[in-house]
C-alpha cells in the first residue's frame, strides 16, 4: 500500500481531489456492500454449512483451471510485456484435439478400462497440440512485430484469436463435442470434512502438481533462470550470452503446454468443447493473471483461485444476501467488479511488483 500512496503523492493526486475522493467512496462502498450481503446471507441460513463448503470446492476446481491458463498469459507478459490475447484459443485447441483422441480411445475401450493410461495419452495429445499452436502463433504473428509498440502486438493477438476460433470452427464444425465420461471418476471423496467430487479432485490435484512443477522449473533450472533474465532486461540478458529468441520460444512452448493441460482438465470436468470454448475462460484467465499481478507466476495461481472462489461464492454469498433476483446471472459482473476493485486498491494486482507501474 505504501508504494501506491507514494505513487499517488508523486503524481499529485491528493486524497481530496475529485478522483481520489471518488475512488475512496468506491472502496468504502464495496466493503460495506460485501459485508452487508455476506452477513445477510449467512444469518438467513439458506445454505447449510456443508453446502457452503461444497461451494468452496467448486470454486477451487474452476479456479485451478483458470490458474493454469493464466500461467501462459503471465509468462508471456513477463518476458514480452504484452497480453497474448490468443492464449484462450491455444487452450481450446488442446481441448478440441484432445476430444478426438479421447473419442478414439473410448472406442477402443481404453478410456474407461485403463483411465490412468487413457488420461496420460490424451494429456500428451493436448499438450502437444497447444504447444504447437502457441509456437505457430508466435512465429507467424508475433515474431515479426517484436520491436513494434505493444498496442500493435495486442491487436495482432486479437486477430490471431479470431483466426484460431473460426479456423477451428471451419475445420471441426460448430457443433458442441462431448467428451466421454470415465466410470472410475464418478462419485466423490470425503477429504478433511469436504465433499470432493472425484473429477474435481483429480483436476485440483493435476493443476497444483503442474504449477509446482512449473515453479520449480522457472526458479531452479538454467532455462528458467534465462527466462527470468530475459524478463528483467532483454538487452543485458543477450549480452550475458542468453539466446533471447530461443528463450522466448521456450516461454511460448511452456505456456502452451500448461494451456494444453488445462484443456484436458476442462474436458474432464465439463466434458464439452466447441470452437468458442476458449473465449470466456481465456478472458477469465486474463483477468486472473491481472488480478494476481501480471508477470508474476504465483500471482497468476492466486488470481485464478480468487476468481474461482468469487464466481462460486459471490452470487450466493453477497448478491442473494442483498436480495438481488437471479443472482447467478450476475456471476460475471461480480468477477469483473472484483477485478476492478482489486486494481483500484492495488493497481499492480495482488502480488504485483512495481514493475507494472513503471513499465506498463
Amino acid at each position: 500500500m505504501s508504494d501506491y500512496g507514494a505513487a499517488l503523492r508523486r503524481r499529485g493526486l491528493e486524497l481530496f481531489s475529485f478522483t481520489g475522493g471518488f475512488l475512496w467512496a468506491v472502496r468504502i462502498a464495496a466493503v460495506v456492500v460485501v459485508i452487508w450481503g455476506a452477513v445477510g446471507s449467512l444469518t438467513e441460513g439458506r445454505l447449510t454449512f456443508d453446502q457452503w463448503k461444497n461451494l468452496v470446492v467448486f470454486g477451487l476446481a474452476q479456479g485451478s483451471v483458470y490458474a493454469l491458463i493464466a500461467l501462459g498469459y503471465t509468462m508471456v507478459y513477463g518476458v514480452l510485456r504484452f497480453i497474448n490475447f490468443a492464449h484462450g484459443e491455444v487452450f481450446m485447441s488442446g481441448a478440441m484435439i484432445g476430444f478426438f483422441a479421447a473419442r478414439e480411445l473410448n472406442q477402443h475401450g481404453l478410456w474407461s478400462d485403463r483411465p490412468v493410461l487413457g488420461i496420460l495419452i490424451v494429456l500428451l495429445v493436448c499438450m502437444t497440440t497447444s504447444t504447437t499452436v502457441a509456437l505457430i502463433v508466435e512465429r507467424v504473428a508475433y515474431r515479426p512485430l517484436r520491436q513494434r509498440p505493444r498496442l500493435i502486438l495486442l491487436i495482432t493477438a486479437i486477430g490471431a484469436s479470431f483466426v484460431l476460433q473460426y479456423a477451428f470452427r471451419g475445420l471441426f464444425g460448430a457443433g458442441v463435442k462431448s467428451y466421454p465420461s470415465i466410470e472410475a471418476l464418478q462419485g466423490s471423496w470425503r477429504i478433511l470434512g469436504f465433499n470432493v467430487i472425484k473429477t474435481q479432485g483429480v483436476v485440483i490435484l493435476i493443476a497444483f502438481g503442474m504449477m509446482a512443477l512449473l515453479y520449480t522449473f522457472v526458479e531452479r533450472t538454467r532455462t528458467g533462470r534465462a527466462m527470468r533474465a530475459v524478463a528483467e532486461d532483454q538487452e543485458t540478458a543477450e549480452l550475458m550470452g542468453i539466446n533471447v529468441d530461443r528463450t522466448i520460444v521456450t516461454v511460448f512452448a511452456v505456456g502452451g503446454a500448461m494451456a494444453g493441460v488445462a484443456g484436458l482438465l476442462w474436458g474432464l470436468v465439463f466434458q464439452q468443447v466447441f470452437f468458442f470454448t476458449g473465449f470466456l475462460p481465456g478472458i477469465k484467465a486474463f483477468a486472473s493473471a491481472v488480478l494476481g499481478g501480471i508477470g508474476n507466476i504465483p500471482g497468476a495461481m492466486l488470481g485464478g483461485l480468487v476468481l474461482g472462489q468469487t464466481e462460486s461464492l459471490g452470487p450466493s454469498l453477497v448478491l442473494s444476501g442483498l436480495g438481488v433476483p437471479s443472482a447467478h446471472q450476475l456471476k460475471d459482473v461480480i468477477a469483473f467488479l472484483v477485478l476492478v476493485l482489486v486494481l483500484v486498491f492495488r493497481p499492480t494486482g495482488l502480488l504485483g511488483e512495481r514493475v507494472a507501474e513503471e513499465r506498463a
Binding site: R46, L47, V176, Q272, P315, S316, Q329
Partner: protein, 427 residues
C-alpha cells in the same frame, strides 16, 4: 479565425445539402407513386395491390435464422417451406418463387432481412421469423409495407396478445403465427406439475434468451396462479459451464422440481452436474422443446426427466412430409418447428389462392383482403393440427405434450412418443 471560417463554410454546405436532399426526396416520392410501385386500382384496399403479369411467378419470402449458432432452427424451416411450395403446386396457374433471407436470430438481422424483402414490391407475404427478437422489428416493417407475415416459430407473447383479448405491445396488423404462444406452454407445464405430479414448490432457471425467459416466467406465473409456490426463480448466462453453484442454491431452496426451459449446451451442464448435488435427480427436473434432441436425451443423466413441448404432428400426412424431407435433404428434420413453417407456407398459399383475382391474365392480389382473410382463417387442417386464427394472429393448434425420457427411450422420436399428458386450453 481560420477554423471559424471553415466552420461556417461547412455549416452553409450542410444547410444547402439538406435542401437538395429534401428536394430529391420529394422528387423520388412522386416518381415512386407514379412509376415503380404497382398502380393502385381505385377499387383496391388501402394497402394497395400486387399485380402479377401473365407468366410471371408469385413471389413470397422466408426470413429465417440460417447462419450462426441457431442456424439449424432456420434451415429446418426453410426446407419445410420449400417442400410446402412444391406440394401446393401452382397458384392461379403460376409457379411460386421463394426469396430466402436470414434473420440472424437478432433484432438487427430481422430489420435488414425484412428491408431486403420489402425492397421488392412484388413480394406478397413472408414466412418468418425464426426468433421472436427478430420478429418484433421485422413485423413492424412488414406491416408498414402491407405484407402478410406468418411465423412458424415465434412464441413470445409480446408479438400477439395475452390470450385474454388484449393485444400486446409488439403486435402488428398483418402478423400471425402457427407456433403456440408461450403462455400456453407455461400453463401446460404448470398444470402438469401441480395437478398430475402434485408438487407445490418449484424452481425455474432461464438463460437470458427472450424465449427461455418468457417461458420460465409464464410457467412460474401459471404455477403461482394454480396455488403453487415458485421458491426460486433464477438464471444463468449463455456460455456458463459451472452450474454447480446455482444448483446448490436450487437444492437449498427446497424446490421439488426444477424447470429449466433452456438450450444446449447449458442444459447439458445442468443435468450432468446435478448428480453431484445432493437432493437433485432427474425425476425432479423438467425442460422444454429447446433440448428435445438426440444428443440431449442420450445423456445418461437425463433419464427420467420430463419435457414440455408442442405436440408433435403425426399421421400419414406428416409421415409423407418426413419422407420427402429425407429424400431431398439427406437427413430427418433437425428441429422442432418445421411442421409449423410448412403449415404457415401452405396457409399463405391457400390465402393467395382464395384472394387473388384474375383480370385479363393479370393476377391481382389485394393486400388488405389478404390480411383480413388471414385473421378469418378457421379450421384450416395442417400438419400440426387444426389452425384457427384469433384477431391477434395466434393460429396454432394449442396442444402441448408433457413427455418423459425413461430407460426405454433412446432416440428423440421415442421420447416424443412417450406422452404422459396432453394439454389443451379450455376456451
Amino acid at each position: 479565425m481560420k477554423q471559424h471560417r471553415l466552420f461556417w463554410l461547412i455549416a452553409v454546405l450542410v444547410a444547402a445539402l439538406a435542401l437538395v436532399a429534401a428536394a430529391c426526396g420529394g422528387d423520388d416520392d412522386d416518381e415512386g407513386a407514379g412509376g415503380e410501385t404497382t398502380t393502385e386500382e381505385p377499387s383496391g384496399g388501402a394497402l394497395g395491390t400486387v399485380e402479377i403479369a401473365p407468366g410471371e411467378p408469385i413471389k413470397i419470402a422466408s426470413l429465417q435464422s440460417i447462419s450462426g449458432a441457431t442456424a439449424s432452427l432456420g434451415t429446418d424451416q426453410v426446407r419445410a417451406i420449400e417442400i410446402a411450395i412444391e406440394d401446393f403446386g401452382e397458384v392461379h396457374g403460376r409457379s411460386v418463387e421463394l426469396q430466402s433471407e436470414d434473420d440472424g436470430c437478432a433484432a438487427e438481422g430481422g430489420t435488414t432481412g425484412m428491408q431486403r424483402i420489402v425492397a421488392d414490391p412484388q413480394v406478397v407475404g413472408v414466412i418468418g421469423t425464426s426468433c421472436s427478437g427478430a420478429g418484433v422489428p421485422a413485423s413492424q416493417i412488414a406491416s408498414e409495407a402491407g405484407l402478410v407475415m406468418i411465423s412458424g416459430s415465434n412464441t413470445s407473447p409480446s408479438l400477439t396478445s395475452d390470450l385474454e383479448g388484449n393485444a400486446n405491445d409488439a403486435f402488428q396488423p398483418g402478423y400471425a403465427r402457427t407456433a403456440h404462444n408461450d403462455l400456453i406452454q407455461g400453463q401446460a407445464a404448470a398444470e402438469y406439475v401441480f395437478n398430475e405430479l402434485e408438487l407445490t414448490k418449484i424452481a425455474t432457471i432461464h438463460d437470458g434468451d427472450p424465449y427461455t425467459e418468457g417461458l420460465a416466467t409464464a410457467m412460474g406465473n401459471a404455477f403461482t396462479e394454480l396455488g403453487g409456490d415458485v421458491v426460486l426463480a433464477t438464471a444463468v448466462n449463455k456460455g456458463d459451464t459451472d452450474m454447480r453453484p446455482v444448483l446448490t442454491e436450487v437444492a437449498a431452496s427446497g424446490a421439488e422440481l426444477l424447470y429449466f426451459p433452456i438450450f444446449q449446451p447449458e442444459a447439458d451442464f445442468i443435468v450432468k452436474q446435478a448428480r453431484d448435488i445432493q437432493g437433485l435427480n432427474a425425476a425432479t427436473m423438467m425442460a422444454a422443446d429447446g433440448v428435445l434432441s438426440d444428443t440431449f436425451v442420450s445423456i445418461p443423466e437425463s433419464e427420467d426427466m420430463y419435457f414440455s413441448g408442442p405436440a408433435q404432428p403425426e399421421g400419414s400426412a406428416y409421415e409423407e412430409f418426413v419422407g420427402k424431407y429425407e429424400e431431398a435433404y439427406g437427413e430427418r428434420p433437425i428441429q422442432a418447428f418445421h411442421a409449423h413453417s410448412y403449415d404457415a407456407a401452405t396457409l399463405l398459399l391457400t390465402l393467395i389462392q382464395d384472394v387473388g383475382e384474375d383480370r385479363d391474365g393479370t393476377l391481382v392480389i389485394d393486400r388488405e383482403a389478404l390480411r383480413n382473410a388471414l385473421y378469418e382463417t378457421e379450421g384450416f387442417e395442417g400438419l400440426t393440427g387444426t389452425i384457427t386464427c384469433d384477431e391477434f394472429g395466434d393460429c396454432a393448434d394449442p396442444k402441448i405434450n408433457i413427455l418423459q425420457n425413461t430407460a426405454e427411450q433412446e432416440t428423440i422420436e421415442q421420447v416424443q412418443r412417450n406422452v404422459l399428458f396432453t394439454f389443451e386450453p379450455s376456451e
